[in-house]
């Protein structure tokens, strides 16, 4: 069975392009448009990997990661940040919140697939 990935971003086009890239490589993809929607979806089903934006309405990426890490089922699930932010302080916050990795936009589809492959082991 193919791995199930949750893609979280408030930008429709980013969701669409990430989805297109991951589905093209054979992954199953579900999308959420902000942290809150993502958290709700994670509570009702288990994803193998969560790829999230940082700046989103209702709940940002860092808060989502903190919330996910407090859920037993997501304590070890890879969560990678895909954001326009590249500051070291932001990365440090991400690391502290429990992010598995940090990708700066714009993403290269092949690099995204490499990272996905690596974090999914």
């Amino acid at each position: 069975m193919s791995k199930h990935i949750l893609v979280v971003d408030d930008s429709v086009s980013i969701r669409q392009m990430v989805e297109m890239t991951l589905k093209g490589a054979g992954y199953t993809v579900t999308t959420a448009q902000d942290g809150q929607e993502a958290l709700d979806k994670c509570k009702s089903q288990q994803f193998n990997f969560v790829l999230t934006d940082q700046n989103m309405p209702r709940m940002d990426g860092l808060t989502l990661i903190k919330n996910l890490r407090s859920l037993g089922a997501y304590s070890r699930t890879p969560v990678v940040m895909l954001t326009t932010e590249a500051g070291d302080d932001m990365k440090a916050k991400g690391k502290a919140a429990g992010a598995t990795g940090w990708m700066v936009k714009p993403f290269d589809p092949n690099k995204l697939l490499d990272v996905t492959k690596r974090v999914l082991g």
């Binding site: 086009s13 669409q16 297109m20 700046n55 500051g87 598995t100 700066v104 936009k105 589809p109």
Partner: protein, 394 residues
Amino acid sequence: MSSNNLPSMQQGALKSIYVLCVVGIAASWALFFFVSALTALAVLTGVVVFSAFVYSKSADEVDEIYPINESLGQSEQAGNTDIKKASDELALSLSTCDSNLSSIKSTQDDAVETLSNAFSSLKALVAQQIQCIDALLSVDSTQTQSYSERMRTFAQETDGTLTQFIDSTEQMSSSTKHLMEQVQTIQQAMPTVIDALSGIDDIAAQTNLLALNAAIEAARAGEAGRGFAVVADEVRALSTRSTQFSDVIKTQVENIRSLVDKLTDTAEFVASQDISQVVNAKSHISDQLAEIIRKAEADLVTTKQIEDIGSQLDESINAAIRGMQFGDINGQHIQYTKDMITFILEQLATLNANNIESFVSALNEYQKGIAAKGKNDHNPVSATSMDAGEVELF
């Protein structure tokens, strides 16, 4: 005239110009970074012209008012009116900028969505096309060998089979020649047999004649030759039977000779068959097979080219996916700029002659002000090109 002695009205005008310059320069920098240098220049020019206007107006008023020595309260009120007027003008310009930015963002979002939909379906169509080509070039889904490779193997095997066939035909042809030689030997032996039979006939005729003479001699001997006459009759009967047998054998030998003649004809016909026709046919088929092999090899090259084009298409689509993220990136730039403009507009609305200092400090600390409203306190965008961003795994 020192600045301390300036009438309050002129002091108010200077404050207005100061505020105008601060706000104007701040707005210009923001516009320069996030919208365009031209817009920034336009705003800056507007601010300079407006400042000059305010200053000249206040100077005129000073000329008029100074000798009259108006009260302090009146000049402050006049300064306040000027500040209000200037800030209203600025607010109007900034509102126009804000509404333009909203239009840009909405058009851009729409364009990027259209583009990303188009590329989604393009990617799906390319994948479908590659599948169709694969189906066209491969024998079936269970075989890894391509159709052209299979064709080449088939042609090579057929050529091998044909060569074997020719070898067998040549062998058969040489065997037939050998057979014909043996049949000819038999045919040549036939006259000797027939000659031998003629000899037997001659002997039988002579024996018959001898028996007749013996019978005559026996008759002349009278009673004493009676027994000899019986023997002579028996010898003549044997001679007659011998002739009969010889006739039967002769008939059979004639039959055999005619059959051997026919066999010779047939063997000669077979042996004389030209196998060069078969060899020619084989060489013709070999040529056609070579043509098929050439085509198959050309197909292999084409297959490789199609694969290359497929991966190039993939690369192009990947580059397009990377490029189209400008929608999200510039959208965040625009949003951040809009938040800044909104903040400045809010501050402008409260501006009057008495709170210029707090107004300036609020502007200086706009990051805190924006953050207090739950907005980003910094521009969230780091990228300055569409090159792929860095990747870091913790």
